[in-house]
């Protein structure tokens, strides 16, 4: 007797509902930002230019991952695309850290004397996004190895598909956060 579970469908749903939970998490944080900002005593700041590089990196990485899934579905070689996606993910992380250093050099601190919730929010929210991205990097790493070994075929691509859904989500989330901090 087998447990007849449609693994494909349930895995994707589990991921999507997990994503909904993450959306609520960031919705909570960004709405806290809005509520707090409305109360005044708020330091205005300019977004670090490094974050623009982050944005470009993550958009390109998403496009490459999208192409690699398409190629896998057509039984074409995809390793190099996934690998570059991973590298762009690492570039994203690097640019985030550089962005924080840029903030520090401008006198915007996470904590301590002279810090203001406006700056703290920026640090904490981007840090939490980066932590979620770290999970994405791990799955991308595993996917890269699997692609190298030729494990993905047009009939077996659930792993890379789940990775790509999560990665695209992280990209969209970042773009939302970027625009949010830029314009709100």
């Amino acid at each position: 007797m087998e447990l007849t579970i449609n693994k494909n469908k349930t895995s994707k749903q589990l991921l999507w509902i997990g994503i909904v939970a993450i959306i609520m998490f960031f919705a909570g944080l960004t709405s806290a930002y809005v509520v707090r900002k409305a109360e005044g005593n708020w330091l205005e700041f300019v977004m670090p230019s490094w974050f623009l590089l982050s944005t470009i990196a993550i958009i390109i990485s998403s496009i490459l991952l999208w192409i690699s899934v398409k190629r896998i579905k057509a039984d074409k070689h995809s390793f190099i695309f996934i690998f570059i996606t991973l590298l762009l993910g690492i570039l994203f992380s690097y640019s985030q850290i550089q962005g924080w250093q840029q903030l520090v050099s401008e006198g915007i601190y996470l904590t301590g004397e002279g810090s203001n919730p406006s700056g703290s929010f920026l640090y904490v929210i981007t840090l939490l996004h980066l932590l979620h991205l770290a999970g994405g990097l791990i799955t991308l790493g595993v996917s890269t190895i699997n692609a190298k070994k030729g494990k993905y075929t047009s009939s077996n691509y659930l792993g890379i598909e789940l990775t790509s859904i999560y990665w695209h989500f992280l990209g969209v989330l970042w773009i939302y956060l970027f625009l949010f901090f830029q314009y709100i």
Binding site: M1, I5, T10, A21, I22, F25, R36, E39, P117
Partner: protein, 583 residues
């Protein structure tokens, strides 16, 4: 997964992926935590009825440090109140109730072999277990457990040096809660996906038993609201441990001005209650679901207004997200905003009224079987009404301001949420015990348990409304310091008396539960003559639930006393007879 695969002690009882065993793990952990939480309440009740008096039992439980000469230390009083609330709200009524019955009933009642992911399910329990260990450890740290109330409002919770309970105990509280939230999310993900995907053939959504509807919607509320609590707690951790100022501003502590500027404690309240209010329904909806099932089975009648019941559950869930402000009427909220929250809050009376009306109409002219489960289900209706009525007072900003933070609130939420949900849980345990352990619980002990619990619960919480109307604030260590409350001493004596009786009687339940696991009368497959699928599964526990094919479903779960039928129940897997119409 084969049904006859070998199980070792560890894979069967400890790292088990079978949903039925995980349910029992949740239930027993929840029960043990329930006892801890209840004992705490009895300890601080002694102080409230006899302020400053010495009790050997206090020193026995708390030691010389926290109860010198048998007198409760004020800091320990705050800690007991905090931990009692935390444990009962999260450990017993969230994990103990949902963890148990969602795990146990979802696969069995929808006709699935197990949850969508047994592994995530196991992880969910073990995160909960880890959270439990951390919370228990926090009781024993040098500076005492968390003391800022179960709502952990800053600045008390955000400044480690504020009071002893703001120290390491509060850190452990936050770590424990973080683990707890992860556990809840993993569980919730699984429940939702299981209900959506693994229903057996013929089990359409509108044929689901109301228990499953309630647990399904509870899981959705949890997935939407717990992440916000997580965000809220994370910012608090940053404030406590890393020196940010999200919730802190302009504070002078021990004569020293802190560097924090620009923070807002009200922000914490917004974030907290955005979870906090849905949490009320995370607790209540499973109880509503269990009670619906128990009432219908024991009334031998279809539940009245099935679709309206589903609609009411959905409406309550939706409204629960737009009423959080009613916890914050006295935070200086704009009166117009207050009136908006009043409006949305009072709207909840409509779906709640639908539920109560449908329960009563199901009972109306029924040939009721008064099993202990049924008594608790009827008890639930009683407390849901009495507690709900005082909710109208508290939901209205103009009235709430007068009794905010008094014992009126304590009485209200204990009756409508605490006692109701506990009754739902008891109803569930008595009703599904035969399915869980293949044996029956003792009925007579069940009756004794019900009646004494019922009387003492009202004995404790009903008088609290009068204390509140007289202005007695909640959370105060002593009420003998204020002459205006002197004439309330007798009421406090009565409350403590009933609390002790109500507490002691739970020992009968605990005894009945554990004794019956081993020595209870053996059950037949379907002892309550119920329609739902779990009773078509064999009595012996097996991984996979049914030998051979999973039963197919041909009708809804409430074909009781159907005209023309031979018996007064027709299980869901019996095909419609020729010419027979669905309900």
């Amino acid at each position: 997964m084969s049904e006859d695969h070998k199980e070792t002690f560890i894979t069967k009882y400890i790292f088990c992926q079978d949903h039925k065993m995980i349910a029992k793990q949740f239930l027993i952990t929840g029960m043990l935590m329930g006892i801890v939480g209840m004992v705490m309440s009895l300890l601080f009740r002694l102080q409230l009825s006899n302020p400053g008096e010495s009790f050997a039992v206090l020193e026995w439980f708390l030691g010389e440090k926290w109860a010198p000469d048998g007198v409760l230390d004020p800091n320990m009083y705050l800690a007991l109140v905090t931990m009692h609330g935390t444990i009962l709200v999260f450990w017993v009524l969230t994990a103990g109730l949902t963890g148990t019955f969602a795990n146990f009933l979802i696969p069995l009642q929808i006709g699935a072999r197990d949850m969508a992911s047994g592994f995530l399910n196991m992880l969910s329990y073990w995160f909960f277990f880890g959270a439990t260990i951390v919370m228990i450890c926090s009781l024993f740290v040098e500076s005492g457990p968390a003391s800022a109330g179960w709502t952990v409002y800053p600045p008390l919770s955000a400044l480690p040096e504020a009071i002893p309970g703001s120290g390491f105990g509060q850190d452990l509280w936050l770590v424990g809660m973080a683990l707890f939230i992860v556990s809840s999310l993993l569980g919730g993900l699984n429940y939702i996906v299981t209900v959506l995907n693994l229903r057996t053939l013929g089990m359409s959504m509108m044929r689901l038993p109301l228990t499953i509807w309630a647990l399904f919607i509870t899981a959705i509320i949890g997935v939407l609201s717990f992440p916000v609590l997580f965000a809220c707690a994370l910012l608090l951790i940053f404030d406590r441990s890393f020196g940010t100022s999200f919730y802190l501003s302009d504070i002078i502590l021990n004569g020293e001005a802190l560097h924090n500027t620009g923070g807002s404690p009200i922000l914490f309240e917004h974030l907290f209650w955005f979870l906090g209010h849905p949490e009320v329904y995370i607790i209540l909806l499973p109880a509503l679901g269990l009670v619906s099932e128990v009432i219908s089975v024991n009334s031998r009648k279809p539940i009245f207004g099935y679709k309206a019941m589903v609609g009411a559950l959905i409406a309550i869930a939706f409204l629960s997200f737009i009423v959080w402000g009613h916890h914050m009427f006295i935070t200086g909220m704009d009166p117009f905003l207050g009136s908006v929250f009043t409006f949305t809050t009072l709207l909840i009376a409509i779906p709640s009224g639908v539920k109560v009306f449908n329960y009563l109409t199901t009972l109306w002219k029924a040939s009721i079987r008064f099993t202990p489960a049924m008594l608790f289900a009827i008890g639930f209706i009683s407390t849901f009404i009495t507690g709900g009525l005082t909710g109208l007072v508290l939901g209205d900003s103009a009235l709430d301001i007068n009794v905010h933070d008094t014992y009126f609130v304590v009485g209200h939420f204990h009756i409508v949420m605490g006692i109701s949900a506990i009754y739902g849980m008891f109803a569930g345990v008595y009703h599904w015990f035969p399915k869980m352990y293949g044996r029956m619980m003792n009925k007579k002990l069940g009756y004794i348990h019900f009646w004494i619990t019922f009387i003492s619960a009202y004995g404790v919480f009903f008088p609290m409304h009068f204390l509140g109307l007289a202005g007695l604030p909640r959370r105060y260590y002593t009420n003998s310091e204020f002459p205006m409350f002197d004439n309330l001493t007798d009421i406090n004596d009565v409350i403590t008396f009933f609390a002790i009786i109500g507490g002691l009687i739970q020992l009968i339940f605990v005894f009945n539960f554990f004794y019956s696991i081993f020595k209870g009368r053996k059950t037949v497959q379907n002892p309550w003559k119920s329609n739902t699928l779990e009773w078509t599964a064999p009595i012996e526990r097996m991984h996979g639930n049914w030998p051979g094919e999973i039963p197919e479903v041909h009708r809804w779960a409430y074909d009781y006393s159907k005209p023309g039928a031979e018996e007064d129940f027709i299980a869901q897997n019996i095909p419609l007879k020729e010419g027979e119409t669905e309900h």
